[in-house]
């Protein structure tokens, strides 16, 4: 058969489109609701605003059944290891929306206890500003994520997450080697990253 008949990569491009179409319209959110933004998510998901219009209504409180993490509220240093664990447990491919200023940057809580942005410990795809964001903004954030998914290649997500798993392995090695708790290990990694002038540990 003449292989030249088919132009290069037509099939893969089309597959990507089909897969991404399916992916972006069937996001299963995992609400990691810690604070006030979680209350607004209730409003977003219930009747008036209805997140179901965007195919993202199937809330799953188990990370293993979901592929979109909504971080709703302040993440404290005490919570950071839990967040990493839960992110690691989620089904692949996975995306993260950081909702509200507390999750995105620490917000008004510039204190000893608050993690200054979740993007220091896990990769974030979309940031939604607001304290708390209105349900409309949350929906807009989901739509932005859908646009992003549409443009992704199939392997891109894998490479993206590989860095996180690598950092997780580093964290576990650190814990085993020095006998640290997960929180201490993350702290060491953040300090190390800070000395290298990087803001993130993955």
């Amino acid at each position: 058969m003449d292989t030249q008949a088919l132009p290069d990569n037509v099939l893969t491009t089309q597959l990507k489109k089909v897969v991404n179409w399916a992916r972006r319209n069937s996001l299963w959110p995992m609400p990691f609701a810690t604070a006030c933004c979680g209350i607004e998510l209730m409003a977003t998901a219930s009747s008036r605003y209805d997140l179901a219009r965007f195919g993202a209504e199937a809330m799953r409180f188990s990370p293993r059944q979901s592929d979109m993490m909504l971080i709703l509220g302040t993440i404290t240093n005490k919570m950071a290891p839990v967040l990493r664990t839960i992110y690691a447990q989620m089904a692949e491919p996975k995306w993260v929306i950081s909702v509200g200023v507390c999750a995105s940057s620490g917000g008004m809580y510039r204190t000893y206890a608050t993690l200054q942005g979740v993007d220091r410990v896990i990769p974030v795809d979309v940031y939604v500003p607001g304290c708390p964001p209105r349900p409309e903004s949350m929906i807009y954030g989901v739509m932005k994520l859908q646009e992003k998914i549409e443009r992704e290649s199939l392997s891109m997500r894998k490479d993206h997450i590989a860095r996180f798993y690598e950092s997780l392995a580093r964290q576990e090695a650190l814990q085993a080697e020095k006998g640290l708790t997960s929180q201490q290990a993350i702290r060491e990694m953040l300090m190390d990253a800070g000395e290298r002038g990087v803001g993130t540990i993955f």
Binding site: R110, A113, Q116, Q183, Q184, I186, R187, M191, G194, E195
Partner: protein
């Protein structure tokens, strides 16, 4: 009213008193705390509303054991029958401990743990004095005045653009 009663029953325990904006306050030494609490409980002050502390590092005798120490442990009581409130302050120096009220008030348990967590004041006789809000290896005690707001901790602040602590890292004990 209750203050006069305490004065009559346990003379000499109330070392200082004031009523600012209608809040009755008495200051007692920590040795007398349990006796006063027992009296209060009998007199109907059965709702222990709150336990907290205030740090006064610049008090003249903050380090000494005589008289006022560095911290004030502050108790608030409410008498449900007469709706009378009473604030009891117990000065305590650094490193000293206060008798725990967990024997009389179950609610004292977590409040005392919180004071221990935030100020490092120990409570004698507390069944389980662990940190409540922060994590076990937290460096220092957050609400002391010499503890920096950002914790002086890289874990919290490195990578932020604004300088913290005048660009110097705080001590991590």
């Amino acid at each position: 009213m209750i203050i006069e009663h305490i004065d009559a029953q346990l003379p000499g325990t109330v070392t200082d008193r004031h009523a600012f904006r209608g809040d009755q306050t008495i200051v007692i030494a920590k040795e007398n705390l349990l006796a006063v609490v027992e009296l209060l409980y009998r007199e109907g002050f059965q709702l222990l509303v709150d336990i907290t502390a205030v740090d006064w590092p610049e008090r003249p005798n903050a380090q000494g054991a005589e008289g006022a120490g560095r911290f004030d442990v502050v108790y608030h009581w409410l008498n449900l029958a007469s709706q009378e409130r009473l604030r009891v302050k117990v000065p305590v120096a650094e490193g000293e401990s206060v008798p725990s009220l967990t024997g009389t008030f179950k609610t004292a348990d977590w409040f005392e743990r919180e004071v221990f967590d935030m100020f490092g004041i120990r409570f004698d006789g507390h069944p389980d004095l662990r940190r409540l809000l922060t994590w076990p290896d937290f460096p220092g005690h957050a609400l002391r005045k010499d503890f920096p707001l950002d914790g002086g901790d890289v874990f919290c602040m490195e990578g932020c653009t604004a300088p913290y602590n005048n660009g110097e890292r705080g001590e991590r004990s």
